[in-house]
Structures are given as structure tokens and as C-alpha cells.
């Protein structure tokens, strides 16, 4: 039987209890969590996954093939016979296949992991630095972004996590930075002489300030956004001579400016579009320094008190309560600043604070939390090709928060009658497939333990069938929360 503290360690801090956790964790649940905050170890599946740069290069090739095929098709009296319809389809299919594979891999990792606290932290930071797979070509690399930018840095220094996330092609492309051009840059000034209008795109700068570092109340102004977006000009992705960036490449060619030289699909700095001169952000002057300039701004932002407070608030909200206790937030922020942005001490402060261990059911599970914890509880794995459809049906299509703010982390967003009914319906379906093989009464002790109330206990015990007992276990209020 799981004690309340062990149930909290597995269900709240982890991705959900598995049968056998009571024995594995023993009588020091906080120590079990602590042991997971070490340096990054290679994820078993990561070695076999493709690199995002390779996927982006492949997609670029396919887009060029598709464009050529479409152009041939559109030509009057064109060579219809020569067009291979598969060439047109392959571009979208490749994105879709990569997305499906990475979404199911995300679920498989979170379901199988023996370091579920570390896994939850990775998913937390991936949501903090959110990209959304519903914008092309992000769908093809959103899961690889998690592996490449987030996982290696999850227990390191926030500065490294910040830099790795912002410089990853997924983030740069998601927030349009590859299209932003300094009006006074080599390319910008030449183009604007020629009566074309090119200039800044504020998207990435604004979201870094608002969502990744200072927070919306962090004291920055519109001028700070513009100055920061100037500092970020040039942060781009290699091989962007297709799609929306084709215009820029062509323009650079006409103006006789060296175009993109970066390796396809990798971070690259394009000096020809970088706005020259110093920039002043939050009163701090940053001298012209090419690619290093925006890195200096990121480091500066990472060290701000506002950032410490904002990150502490989000962590406390995720792990303790929708309205996080102020003294806990203050403690975490202080720990962050005292340790120069090192994250492991912050996590230790979080799990050593009493706040997270009081209310066992303070947080409502997101659909993703719910599904992953249900599969862990039943020791099942979803068929890879069904993950996306299932998660979408329950209201959280994988890796598509639809906004750079990420998925909301409060119950009000996720509690709705319709969403609840769909969880119940799915519980029934799953119960029907495993109910004859799993003893639901014993499983209740294994995964909810002392947290399960009398009504749930009685409901599961008195169920008319094994299938119904599993359905009731997964539909129970104690299983909707963590």
C-alpha cells in the first residue's frame, strides 16, 4: 500500500505510480526524488532518434521537390504526365510521420521511465519554452527539440537551458526570428533603399521577455522589446533558402550579399541581417557584438530577480497548487539567485519544502498527465499509432499548446464536463481490455494507496466486473488529480 507521501512523490512529482513503487521507493520518498536530479544520462531511445537538423534538411528537399512539381502542374498545357503526385504528398506525409513518431515516443518515454520526477521536469520546461507542432515545420521536430534542447539541460544552469531553447531551430522558426531583419543591417539598408520594406519581427523578443524570463509584469517596455528584437536579428536557421525565407535569399542574391551559409537545419548567425550598433534593454547597454550580443542579453535576463520570481512561481504552481504559496515562491526564487541560476538546488528546495507534501490532490491532471499515469498504473503501453488520436480525443493533442505560453497549468482550464465524460468513456474502454487480467482492488492500493477515499474504495470493490472496477479506478476523483 502506498503511503500518502509515496503517493505524492509518484503521482504529483512523477508521472504516475506504477505497481511496485511502494517497495522501490521505501520510506524516503523525498530522497527518491532527489536521486533523480543528477547530470543528464542518455535516454535509451534517444540514440535511435533522428537529429532535428537532418529532419529539417529532408523536409527542405521535399519542399523544393513539391514546389517544382506544383509549378510544373500549374504551367498551361504543362507536362502533367511528368508530375509525380507522390512527390507533392511526400512533404506533408514526412512531417506527419515525424510528428506521430515523436508524439508516441514522448508518451512511451514518460510511461516507461524509472526517473519520473526528472521526466516531469523535462516536460515542465518543454512547456515553459513551448513550441507548437501545429505550425509547419515545427511538427516534424517538436519532440526532437525536447530531446536536444531541454533534456540535456534540465538539471543544469537556467542560462544554458535558456540559450539551448532559444537557439534551437524549433524555437527560432516557431517565433519567426529567421525572417526578422535589422532595418540598418547590410541587407536591410540596401533593400529599403530599393523601396522594399523589410524590418524587424518582434515575436521572439517579446515572448522571451514575457514568457521565458521576466514574466509579463517584469518591468519591460515596448522599447525594450524592439531593442531586444534588434539584438536577436541574425539568429537564424541554416538552409532556409526555401519557404518564407526564399524572398530574403533571392533579395540577398540580387543585392550581391552573401546569403545563408549555415549548415541546413542548424542554428546559424546571419551577420547580413543583424542590426548594428549598441542596444539598451532595461537600462543596460549592450555593445555591438554579433552573435554574442543576444547571448549576453539572455544571460542578463536569466540573472534578474524578476526571472527568479517568475520561474519560482511557475515551478510552485506546477508542483504544489494553482495559486502557489507565496513563501514557497520566495524561497525558490531566493535559492535560484543564491545559486546563480543553478536549477538542481531549486528542485531540492522544492522537494524539501513541506508545501508539496500537504494536500495530496491539489493539482488537476492535464489530459496528458491523466493518460500517462493511467498507462503507468495499468503497466500498459498505448499502440504508437494511436497516441495522437487518443490524446487529441481527450483534449490535448500532443505538443500543440497552440501558443508560445504553453499549456495552461491551472485546473480551471482543464475541468469541463465534456472533458471529464471523455475520460470516463476512455476508462471504460480500457477497463474492458484489461479488466479480466488486473486485480483492481490490489491495484488501487498500488497506485493511490492511502489517498483513495472510502467511496472510491467501495466503488472499486463492489464493481460488477473486473472491467468496471478498472473503469471506476481510472474515473475516480483521486485519479483525476495529483
Amino acid at each position: 500500500m502506498l503511503t500518502q507521501a509515496t503517493a505524492i512523490a509518484t503521482n504529483r512529482f512523477g508521472t504516475g505510480a506504477k505497481p511496485g513503487d511502494a517497495e522501490r521507493i521505501g520510506n524516503d520518498p523525498a530522497g527518491w526524488l532527489d536521486a533523480q536530479i543528477g547530470p543528464a544520462t542518455a535516454q535509451p531511445a534517444a540514440a535511435t532518434r533522428p537529429k532535428s537538423a537532418d529532419v529539417l534538411s529532408e523536409i527542405r528537399e521535399l519542399r523544393l521537390v513539391r514546389q517544382a512539381a506544383q509549378a510544373a502542374q500549374a504551367r498551361p498545357g504543362g507536362q502533367q504526365a511528368a508530375v509525380d503526385p507522390a512527390a507533392i504528398r511526400e512533404f506533408g506525409q514526412t512531417i506527419a510521420e515525424n510528428y506521430q513518431a515523436q508524439a508516441s515516443s514522448l508518451y512511451a518515454t514518460a510511461i516507461a521511465t524509472d526517473a519520473p520526477f526528472r521526466e516531469r521536469l523535462s516536460l515542465f520546461w518543454a512547456n515553459h519554452f513551448a513550441v507548437s507542432a501545429d505550425k509547419q515545420p515545427i511538427g516534424a521536430i517538436a519532440g526532437l527539440y525536447l530531446d536536444e534542447a531541454i533534456r540535456p539541460n534540465v538539471a543544469g544552469n537556467f542560462r544554458d537551458l535558456l540559450r539551448a531553447s532559444i537557439q534551437h531551430p524549433a524555437m527560432l522558426l516557431y517565433l519567426d526570428n529567421q525572417t526578422s531583419i535589422g532595418p540598418g543591417s547590410l541587407l536591410g539598408s540596401r533593400a529599403n533603399q530599393g523601396n522594399r520594406r523589410v524590418g524587424l519581427n518582434e515575436n521572439l523578443a517579446r515572448e522571451i521577455l514575457e514568457l521565458h524570463t521576466l514574466g509579463v509584469d517584469g518591468g519591460y517596455t515596448q522599447d525594450d522589446v524592439i531593442e531586444f528584437s534588434k539584438a536577436l536579428t541574425g539568429w537564424s536557421v541554416g538552409g532556409q533558402d526555401d519557404g518564407p525565407a526564399a524572398r530574403l535569399g533571392a533579395m540577398a542574391g540580387r543585392l550581391g550579399i552573401a546569403g545563408d551559409t549555415g549548415a541546413p537545419g542548424e542554428f546559424t548567425f546571419r551577420g547580413a541581417v543583424h542590426e548594428p550598433g549598441s542596444k539598451t534593454i532595461l537600462g543596460r547597454r549592450f555593445g555591438e557584438d554579433g552573435v554574442d550580443e543576444a547571448e549576453a542579453v539572455l544571460d542578463f535576463l536569466a540573472g534578474r530577480e524578476e526571472t527568479a520570481h517568475f520561474l519560482a512561481t511557475k515551478l510552485a504552481r506546477h508542483f504544489v497548487a494553482d495559486v502557489p504559496p507565496e513563501n514557497l515562491v520566495a524561497k525558490l526564487a531566493e535559492t535560484y539567485l543564491d545559486n546563480d541560476g543553478e536549477l538542481a538546488p531549486v528542485y531540492r528546495a522544492l522537494i524539501r519544502a513541506e508545501h508539496g507534501w500537504r494536500e495530496p490532490l491539489a493539482k488537476y491532471k492535464t489530459p496528458q498527465d491523466y493518460l500517462i499515469s493511467a498507462f503507468r498504473a495499468l503497466d500498459q503501453a498505448p499502440p504508437p499509432n494511436q497516441v495522437v488520436a487518443l490524446a487529441t480525443q481527450l483534449g490535448q493533442r500532443p505538443m500543440t499548446p497552440g501558443s508560445p505560453a504553453g499549456w495552461p497549468d491551472i485546473a480551471d482550464h482543464w475541468t469541463s464536463g465534456d472533458a471529464l465524460l471523455k475520460r470516463i468513456e476512455w476508462s471504460t474502454t480500457l477497463g474492458a481490455t484489461v479488466g479480466d487480467r488486473i486485480d483492481a482492488v490490489a491495484r488501487l492500493d498500488d497506485v493511490l494507496g492511502e489517498v483513495a477515499g472510502t467511496a472510491t474504495r467501495n466503488g472499486v470493490r463492489r464493481a460488477e466486473s473486473g472491467a468496471q472496477a478498472i473503469a471506476l479506478l481510472l474515473a475516480a476523483p483521486e485519479f483525476q488529480r495529483r
Binding site: D176, T179, S180, I181, P183, G188, R197, V198, G199, L200, N201, E202, N203, R206, E210, V216, Q222, V225, P244, Q393, G395, G402, S403, A405, D412, H413, W414, T415, S416, G417, D418, A419, L420, L421, K422, I424, E425, W426, S427, T428, T429, G453, T454, A455, T456, G459, A463, E464, Q468, A471, L472, A475, A476, P477, E478, Q480
Partner: protein
């Protein structure tokens, strides 16, 4: 006779005859209201371009639409304003006097964050910090107090902030999962009632909505999902038309954050507008004769920059447009204290200047169609808002 005058006079209740009873019914029991929230910040100057302004074409650059009569041109409204060519159904409604457009409108929010902007829009306060549930939920509470309660439904997987609060509302989104049997449902409900009344209430609402959806033939055929508004608008229409269905519906649509390559007469934004236009047309079709008692309000968290940015898109701005459609609306007009597009007319030198508080539109609907008192509107629904007078919409 104006409906509000009718309502404000106790004597009119004694009037015999069909006019009085119909008008009274329209203002209390039978009114329908649909709120459509466009998330991401609709570019108001693209949807309702002030093509009659001398500086419009220059400022919009690659995003400018041609004057009426040219290729891919605006659909004319009143000489100054036109509609984006993708909004053909809305243009027809305007011609029929069933669409009013509010321009240079904004919530009280003046920064440029999507998330805070939506929070202010939906919470109904003046800053993102004051977010004690949504204004439409508080309106439901006030209605229950002043006359009688009405049900509301969110056509979404989760209930948006505008509908969150103490009054339980239902939600509905298409489902492919097989139904749970009655016996299991009864046992789940028993557990919820014993341990978690909030979940119990949600389950009840969901089953009621599911029942209505079944009655209205929505069990199948409403896929489409994703960002398509039309399937949800069709469902909303059926819910609102059902005899014992909800009277208020909230719909959402994303994908309006057009930072890059938003296009002009064609392109990304044009496609989104087309989907919006189709959605509103679907809603009208489903409602049939009930459209005459319906008000649809379409809003977004903020407008976008007046000038195109460096990537043929627009960045986050301030004032934008809102649409008010339906049989209850005295339409065929653009409601605007137009600030102009001159350099000194702009908000912070870059955005359309707000001259109308969006809450004035909401107050107009809730006052005219539901008879909510000014006191309730000024203090409960939109706290401390007595300075914001309702817009006369009917």
C-alpha cells in the same frame, strides 16, 4: 418602440396584445447570445479596412486591399470602411441590416501580451490581475438573481475563462469514444457525489449536453475539428435552437496571430476570415427562424500594428474591430468614433487608437436582450464600469 424603453416602463407590462408580449419575451426568455472569441489578435485593419483614408494604402504596404471595383478589392460598406473580400456572408448581413461593426474598439488592456489581453477581455475587468472568473458567468449569476437562470455552453474541450465562475456551465466537443454504459456511469456519479461535488456537477452537465446533442442529431457528422469554426458553429446553432437547450454559447477560434506573410486578398489571413465567415453563416442556417432573436458578438484580444512589419505581417497592436450580428441588431452601420491613421492619431505612434471600450458592446447586448439592470452591469458583471455606457445595438 425601443426594447429598452419598453422594458424600463413597468406600465408596458400591462399592455395587451401580441406586440408587448413578443417584445417582452424577446427581451427575457427567448433571446439567444453567441460569443465568438478570435484568439491571437485579429488584424482589424485587414478585416475592416478604412480604404477611404488617404494614408491607408501607404501604411499597409503589401497588405493593402484595393478600392471597391478592382481585383481582390474590398467589399464596400460606407465609403470610408470596407470588408475583406473573404467576408462575403457578413457583407450580405450588413446589407440586410443584420450586422453592425464596431471599429477602433479595445478592451481596457493596453499592453501587448496575448495572454493578458485575453484575460482582460474575458474576465471583464481592467487589468489582468483582477481575474475572478469570467464576465459571462457573472452575467449568468445576475440573470438568475434578477429574473431566472439560463444555461450556457462552451463549444470547446475546456471552458474558456469568460464562462468560468460559480455558475456551472456545460461544454461540448465532438466525441469518437464509445458511450459508457448507464450502470458504470451511475456508479461513477455515486463516487463523485460522495467525494467531489465539483466533478459531480460537471458530469451532470456533460450528460445533459450529450443528451441534447443526441436529440439534435449531432452524434456523427461533426468532425472537421481543428481550427475549422464551421462545425462548431453548426453545433452551437443546434444547441441554441433546441427547445430545452442552452441560450448562450461561447465559441473560440485560433490562428489569428499573423506575424509573417499574412497575405492581402488571398493568403493565410484570408483563409481564416473565410472560415469565420462560413462559421457565422452556418450558425445562421442552423438557427433558422431563431436567428431573429439571436445576437452574435465576435471579438479578439487586440488589433495589430497599423503598418506592416518587416516580414509582411503585423505585430501586436491595440484597437481593432468587433462584429455584432443577428436578427436583433440594428445593423448596416459601422459604430466608430474613428481616430484616423495620421501619425499623431495613432496609439504610441504605431497602433490604431482605441475610442470604444469593448465592454460597452457586451453591456449593450446584456441590457437590451436580457434586460440586465444597469446596476448589475456596472457593478457585478463589469465591476467599477459605470463610466462605460452601453452601446445601443438594437
Amino acid at each position: 418602440m425601443d426594447r429598452r424603453q419598453l422594458l424600463s416602463s413597468g406600465a408596458t407590462l400591462a399592455l395587451a396584445g401580441p406586440l408587448a408580449s413578443r417584445a417582452f419575451a424577446a427581451a427575457t426568455d427567448d433571446a439567444r447570445f453567441a460569443l465568438v472569441i478570435l484568439r491571437g489578435g485579429l488584424d482589424g485593419l485587414a478585416a475592416v479596412p478604412p480604404y477611404g483614408e488617404g494614408t491607408y494604402s501607404r501604411l499597409r504596404g503589401p497588405l493593402a486591399l484595393g478600392a471597391p471595383g478592382s481585383d481582390g478589392s474590398v467589399l464596400p460598406l460606407d465609403g470610408l470602411f470596407g470588408l475583406h473580400p473573404a467576408l462575403a456572408n457578413l457583407h450580405r448581413m450588413y446589407g440586410d441590416g443584420q450586422l453592425a461593426i464596431a471599429h477602433a474598439v479595445a478592451s481596457p488592456y493596453r499592453e501587448r501580451s496575448h495572454f493578458d489581453g485575453q484575460k482582460v477581455l474575458e474576465a471583464g475587468g481592467t487589468s489582468p490581475e483582477t481575474s475572478d472568473g469570467g464576465w459571462l458567468n457573472r452575467a449568468l449569476a445576475a440573470l438568475a438573481e434578477e429574473s431566472f437562470g439560463r444555461d450556457a455552453i462552451a463549444l470547446a474541450d475546456s471552458v474558456p475563462l469568460v464562462l468560468r465562475g460559480p455558475v456551472t456551465v456545460s461544454s461540448w466537443a465532438p466525441s469518437r469514444l464509445p458511450d459508457t454504459d448507464e450502470d458504470t456511469l451511475a456508479r461513477v456519479r455515486e463516487i463523485y457525489e460522495a467525494t467531489d461535488p465539483a466533478l459531480a456537477a460537471q458530469l451532470t452537465q456533460a450528460l445533459n449536453a450529450r443528451g441534447l446533442a443526441g436529440d439534435a442529431g449531432m452524434d456523427g457528422g461533426l468532425r472537421g475539428g481543428g481550427q475549422q469554426l464551421a462545425p462548431l458553429a453548426t453545433a452551437a446553432g443546434r444547441f441554441l435552437a433546441a427547445a430545452d437547450g442552452p441560450r448562450i454559447a461561447v465559441l473560440e477560434s485560433g490562428g489569428w496571430d499573423t506575424h509573417a506573410n499574412q497575405g492581402a486578398a488571398a493568403g493565410t489571413l484570408a483563409q481564416r476570415l473565410q472560415q469565420l465567415d462560413n462559421g457565422i453563416a452556418s450558425l445562421k442556417t442552423e438557427l433558422g427562424p431563431i436567428w431573429e432573436r439571436t445576437t452574435v458578438v465576435i471579438v479578439t484580444e487586440f488589433g495589430r500594428t497599423v503598418a506592416a512589419n518587416g516580414t509582411r505581417g503585423t505585430d501586436h497592436g491595440t484597437a481593432g474591430v468587433a462584429f455584432v450580428a443577428g436578427g436583433t441588431v440594428a445593423g448596416g452601420r459601422v459604430i466608430a468614433d474613428w481616430p484616423g491613421l495620421g501619425e499623431r492619431d495613432l496609439y504610441e505612434g504605431r497602433d490604431l487608437m482605441p475610442t470604444l471600450d469593448m465592454r460597452a458592446l457586451f453591456k449593450g447586448v446584456l441590457g437590451e436582450q436580457y434586460g440586465l439592470s444597469a446596476r448589475a452591469l456596472d457593478t457585478l458583471v463589469f465591476p467599477d464600469s459605470s463610466a462605460v455606457a452601453p452601446v445601443d445595438l438594437a
